[in-house]
């Protein structure tokens, strides 16, 4: 009788599908994964230590580099934390602009994440190219307001760096015309494609109660059927004024995560439309472009979190009354969403492992910090 032998292989750190420098120490029995240990830290730069040396404002551009796909959302979390610590009020218009940017970020992140996921399944980048096309449009908008495509560095304590430019709104409205077509097309490509169904249905199941215990966030948590969205659970900024649905899955497999991401793009588009409708009302307000460059918060600690496209991004700040944070901790969604990876991959094939990793949607800049 043929006896199969357990084999240890290293997937990564240099591997086409590890989404960065990430290593998976996989024990396989034939093609079946029996054990997986994620190994990372290759991008570790002790971001939190660096942040303790910088002033509060100087940390803002560093947050861009955490999850370089969603710089705006990272900015938002950090700005919120400092504002909470110091007690700064944000003008209404700035809040609307912030939400607008963060929701655009969500669309671009999901467009890219789905593309990369399908790439991991072996498609030759068509879905990714479609996603990237929409992403580029959004990045064009980001560039026109913030000056950079990825490292936006756009939020300031108590406002945003610059007001919307004159051509921003018309372009955004054009983009929103294309958005439903894009999302429908993505859905047509992915939703009923038999190959994709075979690759994603029943793969990487994370049951509902385990998803909670594993502290996963974002689409991974919602894909498992937990309707937990911070925008809804603990509304921050102006989210309590906006109507949107929270999509959840029912099984918790890769397919559910895909469906949830597609639907979240729709909901983000809905939010953006509402923001556009409500924004003129806030026109009177200012946006505080250069407000509070040098903050000196009172002694205390604060935890602020936002729902980034990848999940809950939290900043825990401890202030000693000086202009530099005493402790600066990032609760990164990609990092925590990696926790169940090893257990989720167990019992599946090596090819599924890659797909499961893709469905978590990690960015190593955030995992390693």
């Amino acid at each position: 009788m043929l006896k199969t032998e357990e084999l240890q292989i290293n997937i990564g750190p240099q591997h086409p599908s590890t989404h960065g420098v990430f290593r998976m120490l996989v024990t396989v029995d034939g093609e079946t994964v029996t054990d997986l240990k994620p190994v990372f830290g290759y991008l570790h730069r002790n971001h939190e230590q660096i942040a303790e040396v910088n002033t509060y404002l100087q940390n803002m551009p560093y947050t861009d580099r955490l999850d370089y796909f969603n710089a705006m959302a990272n900015n938002h979390a950090y700005a919120m934390a400092v504002e909470k610590l110091v007690g700064i009020e944000v003008p209404e218009r700035a809040e609307y602009i912030r939400v607008l940017m963060v929701e655009l970020t969500r669309i671009l992140n999901h467009a890219g994440a789905l593309g990369f996921l399908i790439n991991d399944m072996g498609a030759w980048q068509t879905q990714l190219a479609f996603g990237m096309r929409e992403r580029e449009k959004i990045l064009d908008l980001f560039e026109s307001v913030s000056g950079a495509r990825l490292m936006c560095n756009y939020f300031r304590f108590g406002g945003v760096a610059r007001d919307l430019t004159a051509d921003f709104m018309p372009r955004l409205k054009d983009l929103l015309v294309a958005m439903p077509a894009f999302i429908d097309e993505m859905e047509r490509l992915l939703r009923e494609n038999e190959i994709l169904l075979q690759r994603s249905e029943g793969i990487g199941i994370l049951p509902k109660d385990l998803a909670l215990a594993y502290s996963v966030t974002g689409p991974v948590l919602r894909g498992s059927g937990v309707a937990y969205d911070i925008r809804r659970a603990e509304p921050y900024s102006i989210y309590d004024r906006l109507d949107f649905d929270v999509p959840v899955g029912s099984v918790g497999d890769v397919y559910d995560r895909i469906l949830v991401r597609i639907e979240e793009m729709r909901q983000s588009k809905r939010i953006i439309e509402q923001v556009i409708a409500q924004l003129p009302d806030a026109q009177g307000g200012h946006i505080n472009p250069k407000a509070r460059q040098n903050v000196r918060p009172p002694v205390g600690d604060v935890y602020a979190r936002v729902e980034t496209p990848k999940g809950e991004l939290g900043f825990y700040l401890v202030s000693d009354g000086s202009s530099r944070p005493y402790r600066y901790k990032v609760r990164a969604p990609s990092f925590i969403n990696l926790t169940p990876l090893g257990d989720m991959c167990r019992g599946y094939k090596v090819a599924d492992m890659v797909v499961i990793l893709g469905s978590i949607d990690i960015v190593m800049g955030e995992v390693d910090r």
Partner: protein, 443 residues
């Protein structure tokens, strides 16, 4: 070709060379020609694929080197030639070295039986189709050698996958062709093409049909199902998406090619694209009539052939050009379909691939062989073969009856198998309840 060489040497120059020398020269010229054409096809197809897939992704594709990127493949070739050839220390040097050659050689062999136009076949073997597939299976040895000699886990796994895939998908490919062979009653590729004259109905089935060169097999239910099955199997044989599992870059980096660089890597690449070309060509020949098309048959009838020595050489040229044009158009059309599929789909998993091949494709092709037998019986057999009731039917009625029966049979089989297959996949995806029950009881 011998005719031309004979014409030139013995008639024009009057040297009076013996026949065997003429034949040898003729074969050598043809071989040299094909040897030149094969890499050219690879160069062309890489560019073609990149441009086509770029268009599908709203991009333009390589368009810098030369007009419209025409010389991009040459630039790539130069790059590959000048790259350092790296052989891993732990590799088996000789096997590592020979493997690419073993992979490339069969693809070159396969050109020997490929008809390009009317009367333009290097060797008209009466076992051409069998030869084609027998030789194509040899490259599996080369892949195995490459995977083993690299002494790399990814390479070995890739080679294993490649060989398993090739071996198991050769079965549906051959079975689907068997249906066609059953209908034509010949394994000769030339004969297969000749069979496909007509207009939607082959002239061999119904003699009264005008010969427009459009009596392709694709227009019959048997041929259509065989085409679907064969094309899917061809995708798997050629390691194209969604069956590019042996080189699944997201799992096993580059499969058996992982440890190759420079020209050896280039040879694998060459073999792959030439094989893709050949598979597209054979698909177009078997199901879409190869060089058959409106006008070719008529032109060729006027040309100088052994049957018709009084023809005009102009018609030879015209028929050849038109035939090659039709043939290449269809072939590149199929390559476009390959690219199209690559642009649209993800990749299957290895076990799903095997499932698909064994549980869906092979039953389907078996049913198709049954259909083909019905087709042959209804269109060709008579009372002498035990089919008395067809006596007296007109050929068209017989053809219609065959069409109807096989269509119903094939469609029913397809839907039935699709449902069963989808269900089995669904069950695999769901929790294996029985196993859990068992385990619960044990615990």
């Amino acid at each position: 070709m011998q005719d031309v060489v004979n014409q030139v040497i013995n008639t024009s120059f009057g040297w009076g060379w013996p026949s065997w020398a003429i034949a040898l020269i003729g074969y050598l010229i043809v071989a040299a020609l094909l040897f030149g054409i094969a890499p050219f096809q690879m160069l062309f197809l890489t560019l073609y694929e990149r441009r086509a897939i770029a268009r599908m992704q709203d991009r333009i594709g390589p368009n810098r080197v030369g007009p419209e990127g025409m010389f991009q493949p040459l630039a790539d070739g130069v790059k590959i030639f000048t790259k350092e050839d790296i052989v891993p220390t732990a590799a088996d040097q000789w096997v590592h070295f020979i493997a690419p050659c073993v992979v490339v050689a069969p693809t070159m062999f396969m050109f020997a039986v490929l008809p390009w136009g009317p009367g333009m076949v290097p060797v008209d073997m009466n076992l051409g189709l069998l030869f084609f597939f027998a030789i194509s299976s040899v490259s599996a040895v080369g892949l195995m050698m490459a995977g083993w000699a690299s002494s790399n886990k990814f390479a070995l796994v890739g080679a294993m996958r490649a060989v398993a895939q090739m071996v198991s998908y050769e079965i549906p490919a051959v079975l689907s062709l068997l249906a066609i062979v059953l209908v034509t009653g010949s394994l000769s590729i030339v004969e297969l093409i000749n069979y496909q004259g007509g207009l939607f109905i082959s002239t061999r089935d119904v003699a009264s049909v005008p010969d427009w060169g459009l009596g392709w097999f694709i227009f019959s239910p048997v041929g259509f199902l065989a085409f679907i099955a064969f094309f899917i199997a061809a995708l798997a044989e050629g390691e194209r998406t969604p069956f590019d599992i042996p080189e699944a870059d997201s799992e096993i980096v580059a499969g058996y090619m992982t440890e190759y660089s420079g020209m050896k890597f280039g040879l694998f690449y060459l073999a792959q694209y030439v094989l893709n070309f050949l598979l597209c060509a054979i698909t177009s020949i078997i199901f879409f009539g190869g060089w058959q098309g409106p006008g070719v048959g008529w032109l060729y009838a006027q040309a100088i052939t052994p049957v018709n020595p009084q023809g005009g050489w102009v018609f030879n040229v015209l028929a050849g050009v038109l035939g090659v044009f039709y043939f290449l158009t269809k072939t590149y059309g199929f390559f476009f379909v390959m690219v199209w599929i690559r642009g649209a789909y993800a990749r299957l998993r290895i076990d799903q691939l095997m499932d698909f091949g064994w549980k869906f494709l092979i039953p389907l092709t078996l049913v198709n062989i049954f259909s083909a037998a019905i087709w042959v019986g209804l269109t060709k057999w008579g009372a002498a073969d035990g089919l008395a009731f067809v006596e007296g039917w007109s050929p068209l009625v017989r053809w219609a009856a065959a069409f109807g029966v096989t269509l119903a049979l094939n469609l029913g089989a397809y839907l039935f198998l699709a449902r069963i297959f989808a269900q089995s996949q669904d069950e695999r995806a769901r929790q294996d309840d029985d196993v859990l029950e068992q385990l619960t009881n044990v615990a």
